[in-house]
Amino acid sequence: MSPYNGLNKIMKKILQYIKIIKLGDTFVIVTFMGLIFWSVSQSWNMPSGQYLKIENNQEDSKVFSLNQTVNKQVIGFLGSSEISIAEGKVRFVKSPCTKKYCIHHGWINKINQTIVCLPNQITISIVGDSESYDTVNY
């Protein structure tokens, strides 16, 4: 028996299994795939946020507008971290922590995206219009 025959046998078996799929099943499968596409598009097209929320270990969280280009110093547990806001997106630029995960995370711009610097105890996250905020500060 050649290996081609073995392959043929497997193909025949697979075809047999596919035969049990009926008309209603194709409908369910297509709906399921539609759900997958919908969820993928939802997570890709998340609305961009308008505000940036900064939390550190010392004071209440502050909310800033994202529509500006400015670098800010944030005092954390270890020292001062620098974050950069650039027209709708934000990232860490400098941090006194050792592993620099917060800097390597790069830019964030979508609602609910968050960068956490655990050693320095600073969290920055993007919030949308719907989220309630304490203050807006330019």
Binding site: L23, G24, D25, V28, I29, F32, S39, S43, N112
Partner: protein, 174 residues
């Protein structure tokens, strides 16, 4: 020897046998390595599907819930977040199965049942995860990954269950 007051019926025996198989399968699955945490093939659900088709809904519900409780006690995750995730996944999936079990047979096969049940598992787990474990909307970014795995493993368990159902059964087996 004292006589047992509880008289197990034939249905109880069926439930016990099927649940035992389901428990073994889910314990095996617990030790299988997974590339992404949380994504599992759900091989125990093959038994639940089989029970639903060969017997009735109430037997399947019993087997499913017994499996969740006992397998969590065996692997030591009883009353932990993992246990509640699996419990609510099973409950939502049973509710959906109850709703669709009377679908017309000429048009809907076991593939539909399996896919709807796996979808219910994902939905139940996400509801619990969003409400309790990670109360943040960003976990919905994981939804595509889990839905794709639910589709693949749902089809897989439907085909395996189909093979099981094809076998001619001897007397005194299930």
């Amino acid at each position: 020897m004292t006589q047992s007051i509880i008289k197990p019926t034939k249905k109880d025996h069926t439930i016990a046998k099927l649940a035992a198989i389901a428990i073994v399968l889910s314990v095996i699955e617990f030790f299988l390595p997974s590339p992404i945490p949380g994504i599992k093939p759900g091989i125990a659900n093959i038994i639940i599907l089989y029970t639903l088709v060969r017997f009735d809904f109430s037997t399947a519900a019993w087997v499913s819930l017994v499996r969740v409780f006992v397998s969590s006690i065996i692997v030591g995750s009883f009353l932990s977040p993992t246990f509640f995730l699996s419990l609510f996944g099973a409950i939502v999936s049973l509710v959906l199965l109850y709703a669709v079990q009377k679908l017309p047979k000429p048009y809907f096969s076991i593939v539909s049942l399996s896919l709807i049940a796996s979808f219910g598992h994902i939905v139940g787990q996400f509801i619990i995860a969003r409400l309790w474990i990670i109360p943040h909307d960003s976990i919905f970014n994981l939804l595509p990954l889990f839905l794709i795995s639910a589709l693949i493993f749902g089809l897989f368990s439907a085909f395996v269950c189909n093979i099981l159902l094809k076998h001619k059964l001897k007397k005194h087996t299930f």
